[in-house]
Symmetry: C2
Subunit: 203 residues, 2 copies
Amino acid sequence: MATSTIERLIAELAKLPGVGPRSARRLALNLLLQREKRIPTLVAALSTALEQVKTCTSCGALDESDPCTICSDSTRDAALVCVVEDVADVWAMERSRAFRGRYHVLGGTLSAIDGRGPDNLRIPPLLSRVANGEVREIILALSATVAGQTTAHYVAERLADSQAHAGHAVTVTRLAHGLPMGGELDYMDDGTLSAALNARLAY
Amino acid sequence: MATSTIERLIAELAKLPGVGPRSARRLALNLLLQREKRIPTLVAALSTALEQVKTCTSCGALDESDPCTICSDSTRDAALVCVVEDVADVWAMERSRAFRGRYHVLGGTLSAIDGRGPDNLRIPPLLSRVANGEVREIILALSATVAGQTTAHYVAERLADSQAHAGHAVTVTRLAHGLPMGGELDYMDDGTLSAALNARLAY
């Protein structure tokens, strides 16, 4: 049986997403067996992160400065704002190197089950950014799931409402739906095939 | 793209067993999004563990004292020693509450692929414990895998050799092989069925 100190470490590790009691024991044991080498570096990385990492008040991403590196990068197009669900999506978009505008992190999708309504998402800050007048296009880059698309639809409506009140017009776009690169046709689900067919382009 | 501080945290988390780059990002993000609440408790648990946890010089298990709680518990039978591969196996045996003797952790199995020979396992300390004369029975509780059984065979031979030199005799036993509790016959592999059949008992 593990001691209280070890049990406490296991309990902390078990709070991580996707880590059950069994894998938490495995992680704890792995750290403890090489504790002199592994624990100090992990503690240092965690402590530095706690000290340095901030949430950008403009876009909601995580960075060591606020406003973040992306929001304060003058080479990036401030008029083009990509709306995403989570910080992980900002990282995914940045890895693709396909986008040179700025971001806006909503902080999730609308979800009745998880009790996340419009007030829990960063929608008012998005409307403020648009109201400031420097945004030309809003790209709704939400997941192609029911939750993602419902949220995109809601955000688009809120943007349209605020546009009707204000004078200037902002273009609202969304990511294309279709075959993922490398995707084989006979492995695609019906929804993807329908979307790809409906959005077909001249060759 | 994540900052260097976040990248460093992701790299540290990716050293954990079974955690790839993708899940390390997920773990890091989960910690960072609730950093004020989650990081201090995890750091405290890790630091306390580093400070308090010791490897028992007698049995090789992890504990806050050396010799460990089990080795220094006089109500447990010091003459009965259960040889296991890892500290995790000590925890598993203790959870079963089926054993009231003491343990000896080998620290793995013999493995040519992983470069673990007899010198990398805690076999000499086991022979010393036996040579001290207070051990009556050694239970080889190694995994029913090729690696586990090869190691068990090797340990049994080394024990027999050392017995031949010394005067006193120690009984060497192994765990029974057969159907696991709750196991359905038609889901059992051939090896298990053969083992269970060969070791059949009078009803």
